[in-house]
């Protein structure tokens, strides 16, 4: 049994320690807002916050979570920065298919928590998640708006 602090609540999961956090979230806890895209930390669809840092949860075993506080997309609007990011995402009409956007919103929230006024270069490096619909320009515009 492993106890995880997720979105301010304590959850106990009965999974093998090497289980990626992604699958504990999705299959064990039913929190499906965090998406599986590649499983090798390439695409970023599974991005969550671990102590406010962006983390690709598909390569992050539950055994390494420890006492860290996890924030998922389900609780993003309870976070002040996250709420601004969501509003910017809606205002800029960022998502198309939307599948990568949970991860994009989480990555943007982490970026703005660390760097409230990001440069274009910060956005380039901070927002490395893949989007097959090609919403990259809209993502950048929304990050700029959320930072404004």
């Amino acid at each position: 049994m492993i106890t995880l602090s997720i979105n301010g609540e304590s959850h106990t999961v009965d999974v093998e320690p090497e289980t990626p956090l992604l699958w504990a979230l999705r299959d064990t806890l039913g929190m499906t807002g965090t998406k599986y895209g590649c499983g090798i930390a390439q695409c970023g669809a599974c991005t969550v916050l671990v102590d406010d840092q962006a983390m690709r949860s598909c390569q992050f075993p539950v055994s390494r979570v420890g006492k860290s506080k996890i924030t998922t997309i389900e609780a993003i609007e309870q976070d002040e920065v996250g709420r601004k990011v969501v509003e910017a995402w809606v205002a800029q009409q960022v998502p198309q298919c939307g599948y990568c956007q949970s991860g994009q919103v989480m990555a943007a929230t982490a970026l703005l928590k660390e760097t409230p006024k990001p440069t274009e270069e910060d956005i380039l490096y901070g927002m490395s998640n893949l989007c097959r619909c090609g919403t990259y320009n809209m993502v950048a515009a929304a990050v700029r708006q959320a930072a404004a």
Partner: protein
């Protein structure tokens, strides 16, 4: 081990082409699934003639209750013929219906409708694809909304004891101005929808549109920005087992035995182990456990057979396939003929020729494919699956399960990207595995393919090859063009029963029907079937053929001493629609200049192209520079003329999205086969466009008033040739084989 009925392929074989390359007839497929498809696709006239009046299905798009549920609170649930996958159709269709119904589209909830003849709006078929959704539904959905509005008015007239002519509507309410009374649609709906619809309702004057042609916010954006949108992969049903699969390394091989079954069975959470056609599967109480277990399985497989239409031999390679296309000596079929090309070549001042090719491509949509199958107590099968054609999946699922189509309940959740991925591709869809496993376990089963399984088993955009020749007159203008395209298109493979023409339009579109005034044309097609499972892929044949043609057209221009833009303009002298478009894209880009010219960070150059995909017209300009021998694209300008539009914001978003995908294919993408297997298994090896490669995209829209064309795909085909033509302007190097990343560029 629970071998499923020793590899009983009977349930799935109808989907698998049964004959080899030597005999390319696909009667096995067409005779069954094709017939099933015809069953749902019959034009009304034929159904009437053959089955009698009692069997006449409703005229698609006319029965109001099949589409609209108006709730007591006045909100509207719209059952859509189409599935939402990012193209914005849920919003667009809400705008169209809402405009005539007189309900703000923001109060619509849109869901993909279950299978049924009411939804067969695309030439008598139901599908989400071919950039057909808006253009096929615009007229019937306007009429449907107007019909429903009139029913609300009639129901209100009865309720209020007044004449219909005294009533108006105002955003979901019927208003009796004289008395100031109003009744909400929600209160009227139950009675109103029982009324006999009128077939002569008056449509709104477009000059008074409030929703159509406006950049209405998309309905699903907030849900998609907060993780609340539910995709197939997110579905869960009570008592469900999770299944992971490992497919045969070689397409066409089957599992015969397992070496370590007991050890794998003992792994945490494992429920059962199964042999499936072409795959092994493990079910477990979580997908991660199922995956760990199936990857631990040591299976024995049948040896790969010689290359055929349903097998890939151990020595198959994509290069070998390209060589076969290039070397084909087969007699060609005419795909477009005009004038006397032979005579024009005989008196040409100059003749040029070139060969172009483009690789296999994966869809690489971010949501890996999955499917849930559940056999209910009443003998019905319920399936949740990503799909672009509910009725065909229903019919095929029924066949797999050994029941009738009306015993199959189909749920079509929102798609996490599709780009053509979720049509019926036989063994490249996981739902049949889910059905077989649900049957074998007696439990609901969700099959999810890992990203690796997806890259190895996706059906692919076919590789293709075209050889061109052009004759130029003494004035440098082309007098004749010839093309020989060798390959196979997805329409021929998957819809051959419906579109039984010798020349597969999906293989030659973009090489034929170009707008240019080249008087003598001889465009030919040679069908050469791929052993690889082939697919529709965003913009289909246009995704490569416009690159072929427009690249070669630049070569013609240069051979004749002409500027590529000026040559196009000259060749469009009798085509006002396309000529205007070409001038518009030049204007949007600040005036045509080919370059090279100095810009920030070094020399840049521009390329231009045109395309006529899916009933729309596009003109594209790309601006490139070189960075360390790689192509850097700074700007893409696209002007699209789709005749008329519904939502300019969605049009722009779709054109930008398509441009990004087109650029991704121009720069990076290719599925490479070596020794019978695909090399790339994930995004680390199959490179797609990333943030750092994304240019600024500038989109212009022209509404010429021509018949409405498509939007989702047309932004793509112009991008690869515009980029390649810009690279040639910059470096003098002519790219004739994609992706560009294969070629080391220099010379700036």
């Amino acid at each position: 081990m629970n071998a499923i009925a020793p590899l009983d392929l009977s349930a799935v074989t109808p989907l698998l082409p049964q004959s080899g390359v030597a005999n390319m007839s696909r009667r096995g497929f067409l005779g069954s699934a094709g017939a099933l498809l015809l069953g749902v696709a019959l034009p009304l006239g034929r159904a009437k003639a053959e089955e009698g009046a009692a069997a006449i299905p409703p005229k698609p798009g006319t029965r109001v209750p099949a589409f609209l549920e108006i709730r007591p609170d006045g909100s509207v649930k719209l059952l859509s013929p189409f599935v939402e996958g990012g193209q914005g159709i849920n919003t667009g269709i809400a705008q169209i219906v809402g405009e005539e119904l007189d309900v703000n589209p923001a109060r619509f909830e849109v869901e993909c409708a279950p299978p049924g003849p009411d939804y067969a709006l695309v030439n008598g078929i139901r599908m989400t694809g071919g950039s057909f959704s808006t253009r096929s539904s615009y007229a019937p959905m306007r009429r449907l909304g107007a019909t429903a509005r009139e029913m609300m008015i009639r129901a209100a007239a009865e309720r209020l004891g007044v004449q219909s002519s005294e009533l108006e509507t105002d955003d979901g309410k019927v208003v009796h101005k004289a008395s100031g009374r109003t009744v909400g649609y929600g209160e009227l709906a139950a009675k109103a929808l029982l009324l006999t619809p009128k077939d002569d309702v008056v449509l709104r004057d477009p000059a008074t549109f409030r929703y159509i042609k406006r950049p209405i916010a998309r309905l699903d954006v907030r849900a998609k920005s907060t993780g609340k949108a539910i995709y197939a992969i997110d579905q869960k049903v009570d008592g469900m087992l999770y299944a992971a699969v490992q497919h045969a390394v070689h397409f066409g091989s089957n599992p015969t035995a397992l070496d370590n079954e007991a050890a794998v069975k003992a792994m945490p959470g494992v429920h059962s182990i199964h042999l499936l056609p072409g795959a092994v599967a493990v079910t477990a109480n979580s997908w991660w456990r199922a995956r760990k277990a199936v990857e631990a399985l040591k299976a024995q497989w049948t040896s790969p057979k010689p290359t055929g239409i349903d097998t890939i031999a151990a020595d198959f390679s994509s290069q070998g396939m390209l060589d076969a296309l290039k070397g084909s000596k087969s007699e060609a079929l005419p795909a477009e003929s005009e004038g006397d090309a032979a005579a024009a070549f005989a008196r040409a001042a100059k003749v040029i020729e070139a060969e172009y090719d483009a690789p296999y491509l994966a869809h690489a949509q971010l949501e890996p494919p999955s499917a849930i199958a559940r056999f209910n107590g009443d003998g019905k099968l319920e399936i949740w699956l990503p799909n672009q054609m509910p009725e065909l999946f229903q019919a095929t699922a029924a066949k797999t399960a050994g029941i009738q189509p009306d015993q199959v309940i189909v749920h079509s959740p929102m798609l996490g990207g599709f780009f053509g991925r979720h049509f019926m591709y036989g063994p490249s869809n996981p739902f049949q595995q889910a059905i077989l496993l649900a049957k074998a376990t007696g439990r609901p089963v969700k099959v999810l393919w890992s990203r690796e399984e997806e890259f190895l088993n996706d059906a692919l955009r076919p590789l293709s090859h075209t050889r061109f020749r052009a004759a130029l007159g003494a004035d440098g203008y082309p007098t004749a063009i010839e093309a020989r395209t060798v390959g196979e298109g997805p329409i021929g493979r998957w819809f051959g029963a419906l579109f039984n023409t010798p020349v597969d339009s999906s293989a030659v579109e973009g090489v034929v029907e170009k707008p240019y005034a080249i008087p003598n044309r001889k465009m030919e097609f040679v069908k050469l079937a791929h052993p690889v499972n082939i697919a529709f892929w965003r913009s289909v044949g246009h995704s490569m053929n416009d690159f072929f043609y427009e690249g070669f057209l630049d070569e013609i221009a240069l051979a004749g001493g002409k500027d590529p833009f000026e040559l196009r303009l000259a060749l469009l002298k009798d085509k006002p629609r396309q000529k205007k478009l070409l001038q518009a894209v030049a204007d949007l880009s600040g005036g045509w200049k080919r370059g090279p010219y100095e810009a920030e960070g070094g020399k840049r150059a521009r390329g231009v192209s045109m395309a006529s995909p899916f009933g729309s017209e596009t003109a594209t300009i790309a601006e490139v520079s070189l960075e360390d021998g790689s192509t850097r694209v700074h700007n893409i300008w696209v002007v699209i003329d789709p005749g008329s539009i519904v939502n300019p914001a969605i049009v722009k978003a779709q054109v930008e999205s398509a441009a990004a995908l087109g650029l991704s294919t121009a720069l990076f993408e290719q599925v490479v086969y070596e020794n019978g297997v695909r090399e790339a298994k994930n995004y680390d090896a199959y490179q797609i466009l990333r943030r750092e490669n994304m240019p600024a995209v500038h989109v212009g829209i022209i509404e010429s008033g021509e018949p409405m064309g498509g939007i989702g795909e047309p932004g793509l085909p112009g991008v690869p040739p515009a980029v390649v033509n810009a690279v040639a302007a910059l470096t003098g190097q002519r790219i004739r084989s994609l992706p560009i990343s294969k070629t080391k560029l220099s010379g700036v």
